[in-house]
Subunit: 149 residues, 4 copies
């Protein structure tokens, strides 16, 4: 069996939610209300070019991972940039290349849109993630500051 | 005289360009063509809610600094987030609180739009910048990865 | 079979050298001369309280890992500090708790000497190492600068 | 008047203590007992080759800064290494090149001893320090882990 990556569809909702909940828990945002998942899923299906797109990795009819990305303007680049916000592989599906396949599918989607610059942010101590990112991307010296809310 | 912050206007172009060129040189992107500045300035004036907005800091009729920011979607937050991409103070105007005034004006603009979450990225070794950012914002543990282009 | 940690002895030289060579290669210092290993091993056996001490992890008569540490003065602490310079587990012995056992043995040796403060340095991108270090130690905000040689 | 750097002497104690107290306060270790300063100063004067050495920067008979360094073994280098633990410039003497002069004097002392490798650790957010260190030294990718005490 091989891992394939495709756009998320309405039929994926239950499996998608399990994955996205796992991702949120990884970042210690547990116990999000159902309305959070409903709203996010609706946005992914809406096809709004200014909003998020979703891809899922599938093997043998089962979802193993997801990624969400958005195109947004950048004043330095007229075509804009692609921000890969979310990336998650089911714990039981680690080591099969799911995350790499998802990143590469975002690269392909960005190319198809004429927006080759793809970036993401990750916690400095996301060691398993960074082992992969160091192979498919380049760490920049940029760090993120947030307004205190 | 006091530093005031206001939206950039068509009459600011020459002074704005001197500042933005200084900013690009700080990031070692010298010798950008005039078309780069023309296109960026046109976008700032267009008033497109999906594209960049510009603010300038002024004292005694002279521009001392600039900032450019954009609102973009975030799947975790329905109202989106505000990305402050560019921030620059003229070298001769350092130490007057220009950068702080610009950041605070972006915070106010974000509040007015109902998008309180403001963030930016900066090089880890931008020491003068970080001295200020540590006072007006919170450093996150997030670092940026870029697709190799 | 259980992993045990004990001081290195003269009889360990051949196996110790295989491990220490693996460690040096991890840090991209391949092809060190035999004299490097001879001199380092001699120092470990000399018992000089100002110089390095060596511990090895053993299972079923085979060496699986090593660590080298030294006590050195610190002006802030009259009793000094313990610097754990080298730590290595044979690739085929990963996941058995070898590195943790070695670190804990250094902690015990430091306690026995009345020098409880133990520290080490590691590359920011030593992800497998840091997964362990985050469990048995505390990351400080300190980074290392070297004189250019 | 020019800044000169020389070894600390018994007559420097009162001025040295003011500086060292300022340094400790910078690292948020205020209110150290007099016995701490007495013991540290005695060690600096003792001339023990295994213990710390102290240098002071002087201008017009006044101490403007200090540094403390120690030679300790390194298993990778037979001649050992030089650890520059403390470096401080009086707040009112900033911008005169005091810290640079002190670092360069440690480099010279290390050369005189045949131990050219000098290093130090600094907090990642010690921005003023790092502005200087980036000019006289090289940032390594190494970070420090401490045993929890």
């Amino acid at each position: 069996m091989e891992v394939t990556v495709r756009p998320v569809t309405a039929a994926d909702k239950a499996e998608w939610q399990v994955l996205y909940d796992g991702y949120q828990r990884f970042y210690e945002r547990p116990d999000l209300p159902q309305s959070f998942f409903d709203a996010a899923f609706e946005r992914l299906l809406a096809g709004d070019p200014h909003d998020f797109h979703g891809l899922v990795a599938e093997e043998d009819g089962q979802l193993l991972g997801l990624t969400h990305y958005v195109f947004h303007p950048n004043l330095w680049r007229p075509e804009g940039v692609c921000y890969l916000q979310d990336l998650f592989t089911a714990p039981e599906a680690r080591g099969k290349g799911v995350a790499r396949a998802l990143i590469e599918a975002v690269y392909a989607a960005a190319d198809a849109k004429g927006v080759p610059a793809v970036y993401w942010l990750t916690a400095e101590n996301n060691y398993p993630g960074r082992m992969l990112y160091d192979r498919v991307a380049v760490r920049s010296p940029f760090i993120r500051y947030n307004r205190p809310l």
